[in-house]
Symmetry: C2
Subunit: 309 residues, 2 copies
């Protein structure tokens, strides 16, 4: 009895993220089924020049898609820092529960390589013109309109657009002076979306892979979640732009096109859950629960090399 309850509870609490064929009779339209039925044409390759690949010294990889359309100078800096191998040997130095994981140069001793714009301009928002926003038809506490564009959650107010702080979004640590960030110090959100930071800091990307490597780190016991003991810091073996990695080691991702029928169907299915578990579909979806789906991709031409590596 309890066993049955338990097994079902797995499906139950889990069902919001995962489809279960066993409980579909007849099969309802779900977020998962919408994605499964998507034509390949609904998926867009993410440019490997937009992927920052961080390999931890103890193993494990974090892949971040960069938002050059929203913070071009910061993203340019991050590419230059990666290409100069500047991040290599630096550390994750701060893990504050329900807030951020942060990495960089805790001793501040490593000189920036040539070409890095320091300080970078305050790219905290941009003009809405030119942003292809797939707007959600639901209100948001902080903005006139919210939705998705490319791989990112976006908010707009008037003619201003910005990336929102959602779980897994990546921003640039900065000084009190608004133009003192460079991209040398980065953080990822690991808790409640701190939307109050929106438009106050440069948001530069979104973690696509390895989020669990960041979010499951022990929380720092120092002030603001910094690791009190430097031995607790988590070393970064290397950080590279994916296009600079050998093909055999290069991650590939695709994002669901936010202009596609599939994306619209996915949003509708998420807002109006038909899975058996949901007795009361919410009839709504917030911006941080509508991050465009991303999938790992392999291209046919890579197969020989991938198998050979």
């Amino acid at each position: 009895m309890l066993s049955r309850t338990h097994l079902a509870a797995l499906a139950a609490v889990a069902i919001a993220l995962t489809a279960s064929a066993a409980i579909s009779d007849p099969a309802p339209t779900t977020p998962i089924s919408v994605l499964a039925a998507a034509p390949d044409s609904a998926w867009a390759d993410i440019d490997p020049a937009d992927l920052l690949v961080i390999d931890l010294a103890r193993g494990g990889r974090v892949v971040i898609v960069l938002a050059g359309d929203f913070a071009p100078v910061h993203v340019g800096n991050i590419r230059k820092l990666a290409r100069a191998h500047w991040y290599d040997g630096l550390v994750i130095e701060r893990v504050q529960d329900n807030y951020v994981v942060q990495w960089g140069d805790p001793d501040g001793k490593r000189p920036l390589p040539p070409g890095v714009v320091s300080p970078a301009p305050p790219e905290y928002s941009r003009t809405a013109a030119g942003v292809l926003l797939a707007a959600l038809p639901y209100p948001d506490s902080y903005a006139d309109r919210v939705g998705a564009s490319g791989a990112f959650p976006v908010a707009e107010a008037g003619d201003e657009a910005w990336l929102t702080h959602c779980y897994g979004m990546v921003g640039v640590g900065r000084d009190l002076n608004p133009d003192t960030g460079t991209g040398a110090e980065l953080y990822a959100v690991i808790g409640q979306p701190p939307r109050g930071l929106d438009r106050n800091i440069a948001v530069v990307g979104r973690v696509l892979e390895g989020m669990e490597l960041l979010a499951a780190l022990p929380r720092g016991t120092g002030n603001l979640g910094f690791y009190a003991n430097p031995a607790q810091r988590v070393p970064i073996r290397q950080a590279r732009i994916a296009s600079d990695l050998p093909l055999s080691d290069r991650p590939r991702f695709q994002v669901l096109k936010t202009g596609s029928d599939t994306f619209r169907g996915w949003v509708f299915a998420k807002a109006n859950r038909q899975d058996s578990f949901f007795l009361r579909p919410a009839g709504a979806l917030d911006v941080c629960n509508a991050l465009p789906p991303v999938r790992a991709a392999r291209r046919a031409e890579d197969s020989p090399e991938q198998h050979g590596s």
Copy 2:
């Protein structure tokens, strides 16, 4: 230079959660300063009969305030289970990144003690009448009104009220059948608030202490984040209602009264940040960023016993 930048970056990224006296000139009104100035009368003791205290076998304590006003039968069950020592020796069995940590009886073999209502009724929402909602003056994607009541985040639509799934909120795993949960299987939210679960599951509490012990656990690699290897499970030494613990071992908490001027001032300060770091105060606040502040409390009469233990 970088060192200075870095040190300031700490303050910067951190400042959303922590006040920094060094950078206040003159001291602005901040969420922290509002709380620091609160009179004792603005704080209410949380009844120890409403606190579930979970001690992990390897050390560490998780304290959850129970929401008897929203899920009375489930909360009654949880009290009975704790008093029967039913949770003792059970385990945290599931950690799914950006979703939930779940604990209970993975083998489903432990019989429920007498008096536990199984299944419990579907306490997924209640009538709004009688809920003293401190409403936020900002829209929400999912509800007509949101705000706080007691120690909890609350949403309302029409004459219906429910607890919202925010980071750190605790719910009851259940079967597909809506009335098959009991309180034997519990989960805590460790990521993006899964608001789509609201009104579909009994929300029974909020973690007040020890959230970092749950959220930093290694993610399970099995289906739905279950630990594939039972050796990975995290044993629970004991779970008790705080009022059943000896005074010397009893946690005490106070919650800011949501009807107080201090709470209103705190919400305003959070929505309209005046800290030096914030160039663009959001002018808004969402329900999951407005969880009523809680503080550990010690009462004078406990001092002798606490010192003696």
